[in-house]
Structures are given as structure tokens and as C-alpha cells.
């Protein structure tokens, strides 16, 4: 315990951080809650001295909004699909990286690259990879160039797929997004899991050898359980990140949040929040943010509950 005479010193040292947090974190949170319950709020009118009605109007607006359920659906699909895939892939890659000696550092760097690269830039690269460009003619469009993915498909004798351009199907769009998000989520997960793997006592693996455990059993019965705290962490943060999905869609499809012929098709909840802000509907944006917070809270609680049973020691 800090001596009570010394306590003011402790507060003094904490002051810069506390002040910054109060201004940039705590106040905005409070303000968001206030705005969410303030109906038909407008900054301009507020400055003019107008008073607003307090109520649930913004929430009913959000839920009643035609795009809300679609946005929720897209968000959910992206979350549910990408978190397990990226976690399992990251686990396998981390185990493989941990097992090799030569080139480990080089490969680690390569796998870590997406983490330090701007996601909009990556989105644009993905856009180019999945693109079909240069449609000529309207009645009988003649495609002149493909992105590398379609080149590969054609090389193996398949037919090109319209991934993201005008006329593309929603499943194709979502597939591209899943690939992008999984790839983008890998580095952080690999990093965390690799760190976890390296802290596992090597003697357990020697013991497993003595016990003649086959490889897959070592992975499922020893590595995964011993890594379970890290896996739980990665899954929970993965879900939280997944519910906030937005930049990936902007990166690939642009601000239209969908292919040109169906703008907004891939909108997510965060996308909705930005839309509301752009339309000066601050109250509705705040309400949507609170709803998103509620969803993330519930999902995280469920996650924690599940991991309590699954995470060992």
C-alpha cells in the first residue's frame, strides 16, 4: 500500500494519463450515451439553444431502418466465418513455424507483413487481384483482362468468376471479403499463438514422445489444451474485431459498400454508423454504436462462458 502522505504523488504521476483518458475516452463514451437518447439531435440546432426530447427514438430508428437487419446479417456472416477459419489457420501456421528452424525468422516476417501494411492499401491490392477489368461493348461485353485470381482459375481450366465487379453475386463478394479478412487477421493471431507455443515447456513434448503419441494427438491433446488461454484470447478479440468490420469492405469495394450495381449491399453495422454520421444523424449513429456495443458484450460474455469450460488452468 502506498503511504497516504505519498498518495498525492501517485495521483500526480497518474494525472497526465487520467486527464487524456477523461477527455478522449470517458467523455466521448458518456456523450455517446447521452446523444443516443437525444431524439433528432442536430449540432447546429444545439448551438442555437434548441432543446431536444429524450427517448428511445434513435434506437427504434436504427432497428426499423431497412438496412439494419442486412447489415447485421453481413456482420454476423463475416464474424462467424472468419474467426474460426483464421484461428485454425493461425494455429497450424504457428505450430509449423515453431517446428522449423531454418527460415523461421524470414517466414515469420512474411506472415507478419499484413499487420504492418495499411488495410486500405491491402484492400486495393485484393481489388486488383479479384478484378475483371476492361469490359468493352454493352450488348455483348468482351472482357479483356482479369485479375490474377481469375487467371489462376482459368489456368486450371475453370471459368472466370465475377468476384467484385458490376453484376457479381453476393456470395462471391462475401467470399472475397472472407479471404481478405482471414488473411488480414492471421498475423496478429500467429504472433500471439507463436508466443504461447514458445512458452510451453519442451519437456511435455519429450514426455509425449516417450508416451508414443502420434503427431495429431500431440496437437489436439497437448498443444491445443496448453495453448487454450491464448486461443481463447485470440477468438474473443477476433469476434470483437469482426463485429467492427468496415475497412476491409471499403478497401475492396470502396465507399459504396458493395459492387457498383448494388451499393450498400455489403454494409455492416459500423458502416451504418458512418452513414448516419455523414447524414448528420449523430443521435442515430450513437444509438447504433450502443447497439453494437451490446451485441459485442453479449457475444464476449458467451465466449468467456464457453472458454471457462474449455480453457485449462
Amino acid at each position: 500500500m502506498v503511504d497516504s502522505k505519498q498518495q498525492w504523488k501517485a495521483w500526480l504521476y497518474l494525472a497526465p494519463a487520467i486527464v487524456l483518458l477523461l477527455i478522449f475516452t470517458v467523455w466521448p463514451i458518456i456523450n455517446t450515451v447521452v446523444l443516443a437518447f437525444t431524439e433528432k439531435y442536430s449540432t447546429l440546432a444545439n448551438t442555437g439553444g434548441t432543446s431536444f426530447r429524450i427517448g428511445f427514438g434513435n434506437f427504434t430508428d436504427v432497428v426499423g431502418y431497412s438496412g439494419f437487419l442486412d447489415a447485421l446479417k453481413i456482420t454476423m456472416i463475416l464474424c462467424v466465418a472468419t474467426v474460426p477459419i483464421s484461428t485454425i489457420l493461425a494455429l497450424l501456421i504457428a505450430v509449423a513455424l515453431n517446428a522449423i528452424k531454418p527460415l523461421r525468422k524470414a517466414l515469420q516476417t512474411i506472415f507478419f507483413l499484413p499487420y504492418v501494411t495499411n488495410s486500405i492499401a491491402i484492400g486495393m491490392v485484393f481489388n486488383a487481384m479479384f478484378n475483371m477489368i476492361g469490359k468493352i461493348g454493352i450488348r455483348r461485353p468482351k472482357i479483356q483482362s482479369f485479375g490474377i485470381i481469375n487467371d489462376i482459375i482459368r489456368f486450371f481450366g475453370g471459368t472466370e468468376i465475377n468476384w467484385i465487379n458490376t453484376g457479381s453475386d453476393e456470395w462471391a463478394n462475401i467470399l472475397v471479403l472472407i479471404i481478405y479478412i482471414v488473411w488480414n487477421a492471421l498475423p496478429f493471431k500467429i504472433l500471439v499463438l507463436l508466443g504461447g507455443l514458445q512458452s510451453i515447456n519442451k519437456q511435455y513434448y519429450d514426455a509425449a514422445k516417450v508416451d508414443a503419441a502420434p503427431r495429431w494427438k500431440v496437437l489436439t491433446r497437448i498443444t491445443v489444451p496448453l495453448l487454450s488461454p491464448m486461443i481463447a484470447y485470440v477468438v474473443i478479440t477476433g469476434f470483437i474485431g469482426g463485429f467492427k468490420e468496415y475497412t476491409s469492405i471499403v478497401g475492396i469495394f470502396g465507399e459504396t459498400m458493395g459492387p457498383p450495381h448494388d451499393a450498400g449491399r455489403l454494409n455492416t453495422i459500423v458502416g451504418m454508423i458512418y452513414d448516419s454520421l455523414e447524414n448528420n444523424l449523430v443521435g442515430r449513429a450513437s444509438a447504433a454504436a450502443l447497439i453494437l456495443f451490446g451485441i459485442i458484450l453479449i457475444v464476449t460474455l458467451i465466449n468467456l462462458q464457453v472458454s471457462k469450460k474449455r480453457v485449462h488452468y
Partner: protein, 370 residues
């Protein structure tokens, strides 16, 4: 299952690629471990005893030489297929599994003819648990067990699959003194009951001497002496072995042999027939001293420690290579504490001569090599 080690060698390359000072952890180890015996590998840290154990387990590959289990050459066989049980120094129990799951784990990995049904596995697991008396603890996690209990679980896990060979790496080092005594008796009992050829590694000579059928004393990767504990103690092959075995440790003096007599300083202390004149190192076991007012070896008396049955006399001598000389005398003898000196005669079979430079044993008189 007998184990044969043939010219077993392990060289660790030096970490620094430019320099060539590689470490020879085990150098040309030849030994046939008889079936069903308990063997103690003994030596100070860094002597290669653990490396030898891990080569027998297959977790480390020998640089040279061969290992046989019975007549089967297992040198190239991976650990998984050697059918060994290994108890690690820190036990390496899987922390996320219960005791039962820990013991079942090796059984679940058995393949082919050895494959068991679930009931057979459980039966075997409980059998192993009963042997080490932990069948009450089967649903606990390792973190809920004491060190001694964890150690038993580790032994049960190693024994459950009926290994051809049981290997123990410093099995008692993590236990407190009382538990250590109890557990080493238990290891002996379990080994006798199962009859599994067992090799264990220790740096504690008392531990090795007390339970082993045979001990192997190692130093810097080279085997110094192999034999039954009592024989090794009674007839050490060189100064290192003599110094390493025995508590209190052996007393070492500078001496010389002249005309069949052994001199320590100017005192002629003993007849040593058949030894040619030379400078020697003399080792005298603490129990090799006999109090004798007219004895030839005169030492400065420091103090006397009473230990009940025995007394331990601490004295000094200028030719002694140790700072103090410790002798153990039956408590019936009275020591005159007022006296400044204490005089001894020596028991010839407790006195060993070693070459002053090579430190090899020089045999004399009746105490021929056993």
C-alpha cells in the same frame, strides 16, 4: 530386458561456429546392464549421466556407438518405438489432464497387438496407480498434488504401459529430505516388484549407493568405475571415485612411498609392500582411523563433534590436501580434549594409494582389486 551400450559417444558441437571446442558429453561408454537390475548413473553435474540416459531413451541421438535392448539394435529407433518409460526430473505431467488421464495417455497410444480396450486401460491405470499408492488421487490435477505425489504419478505413467526399460532422471531431486528417503525405498520396491530393468541418474552418491544394484561413476563424459556400490566404495579405481563416494568424504594427504613404507610427512604410517618408491596421494576413509596414543600419524586436534553412536574428530595436518581431517571413531573411545594433538594408526583396507599425477589407484598388499 538387458541394455547394452557399445562405444556410446555424444558430442555437442560448439555454439560458436568459428571455434572448435566441441563438448564431448559422453565418451566411449561400454556397459551391459543386466536384465532386471537397478542401475544408478552417478557423477557431478556435467559428467554426461543425463545425456547417457536420454540417449537410452532416444530423445537424444548418439554421435557414435550403438544401443541394444536385448538383442535388438535400437540406436536408430525413435523414442516412440523403443517402449521405454521415462520419469523426468520435473515430472512433466500434463497439467491440463487429471492423474487418471495422465496415466491413461500412454496406454491410449498403444498400437497394433498392444492396443487395449477402454476397460483394460482403466484396469491397467489403476493397477499402476495402486503400485505407487495414488489410486485415491485419480481425479486430481497435477497442480493439486504435492511434489511426492506428482513424482508417483510420473512413475505410474511410466510404468502403466509395461515398458521394456524404466529410466529416471534425478527422480528425487525435487523432494524434501524425508520424502526422499521414503521415495527411494519405494523406487527400490517398485523396481523389485515389476522386475523392469531400471536406470536412474543422480548426483547424490548416498542415493545411488543405497538403492542400486550397480553404480556407474562418471566424470566429464568418461566412465570411471562400474560395480556394486559396496565394491566401488571399498575399492575405488581412482582418486575421483574415492572422493566422490562416501560421507563424510575421504581424507586426502600428500605422501610418499619409500622402501615399502608409506610416509605422510616424516611419519612412517603403514607398510605398503610391493609399491615402488614414489610420491603418492593417500586417501583415508574417515572410518579408517584408529585412536592410538602411540600411533604414527599425529594431527592437530581442532574439535570433536558428538554424533551419539560415533564421534567425529576434526583435526588438521600440514600434509593434508583438505583443510580439515575428519575421522569417525566409536563413541566408546574417550578423546582427551585438552590435548593439542591426536594420534592415529590406520586400518590398511581403508587406506588407498593413488598415483600423484594420474590419480590412478596403486594397489598394495592384501587389498587386491576386487
Amino acid at each position: 530386458m538387458k541394455i547394452v551400450l557399445e562405444n556410446l559417444t555424444k558430442v555437442f558441437p560448439s555454439r560458436n561456429k568459428k571455434s572448435n571446442d566441441e563438448v564431448i558429453a559422453v565418451n566411449n561408454f561400454n556397459f551391459e546392464i543386466p536384465d532386471g537390475k537397478l542401475i544408478g548413473l552417478l557423477g557431478p553435474s556435467g559428467c554426461g549421466k543425463s545425456t547417457t540416459l536420454y540417449m537410452i531413451s532416444g530423445l537424444q541421438k548418439p554421435t557414435g556407438g550403438k544401443i541394444f535392448f536385448g538383442d535388438e539394435d535400437v540406436t536408430e529407433l525413435s523414442t516412440e518405438r523403443r517402449g521405454i518409460g521415462l520419469v523426468f526430473q520435473n515430472y512433466a505431467l500434463y497439467p491440463h489432464m487429471t492423474v487418471k488421464q495422465n496415466i491413461l495417455f500412454p496406454l491410449q497410444n498403444l498400437k497394433g497387438e498392444e492396443k487395449m480396450t477402454k476397460d483394460q486401460m482403466l484396469e491397467r491405470a489403476y493397477e499402476a496407480a495402486r503400485l505407487v499408492q495414488i489410486d485415491e488421487l485419480m481425479d486430481r490435477k497435477p497442480s493439486e498434488l504435492s511434489g511426492g505425489q506428482q513424482q508417483r504419478v510420473a512413475i505410474a505413467r511410466a510404468l502403466a504401459k509395461m515398458p521394456r526399460v524404466l529410466l529416471l532422471d534425478e527422480p528425487l531431486s525435487n523432494l524434501d529430505a524425508r520424502l526422499r528417503l521414503q521415495t527411494r525405498e519405494e523406487i527400490r520396491r517398485i523396481q523389485k516388484e515389476t522386475g523392469i530393468t531400471t536406470v536412474f541418474v543422480t548426483h547424490d552418491q548416498e542415493e545411488a549407493m543405497s538403492i542400486s544394484d550397480m553404480i556407474v561413476v562418471m566424470k566429464l563424459g568418461v566412465v570411471q568405475q562400474i560395480g556394486e556400490p559396496q565394491n566401488v566404495y571399498d575399492s575405488p579405481a581412482n582418486l575421483f571415485v574415492a572422493k566422490f563416494l562416501g560421507t563424510p568424504p575421504i581424507n586426502v594427504f600428500r605422501g610418499r612411498v619409500q622402501g615399502g613404507k608409506l610416509f605422510i610427512g616424516e611419519a612412517e604410517v603403514m607398510d605398503v609392500q610391493g609399491v615402488k618408491d614414489q610420491a603418492v596421494t593417500v586417501g583415508i576413509r574417515p572410518e579408517g582411523f584408529v585412536l592410538d596414543e602411540n600411533g604414527p600419524l599425529s594431527c592437530k586436534l581442532s574439535n570433536v563433534e558428538v554424533m551419539g553412536r560415533d564421534v567425529s574428530i576434526v583435526s588438521t595436518h600440514e600434509e593434508s590436501l583438505n583443510p580439515i581431517i575428519r575421522s569417525i571413531i566409536n563413541a566408546d573411545h574417550k578423546v582427551n580434549l585438552a590435548s593439542e594433538t591426536v594420534r592415529y594408526t590406520l586400518k590398511p583396507h581403508k587406506v588407498f594409494l593413488f598415483h600423484a599425477e594420474t590419480e590412478d589407484r596403486i594397489y598394495f598388499g592384501k587389498t587386491e582389486e576386487a
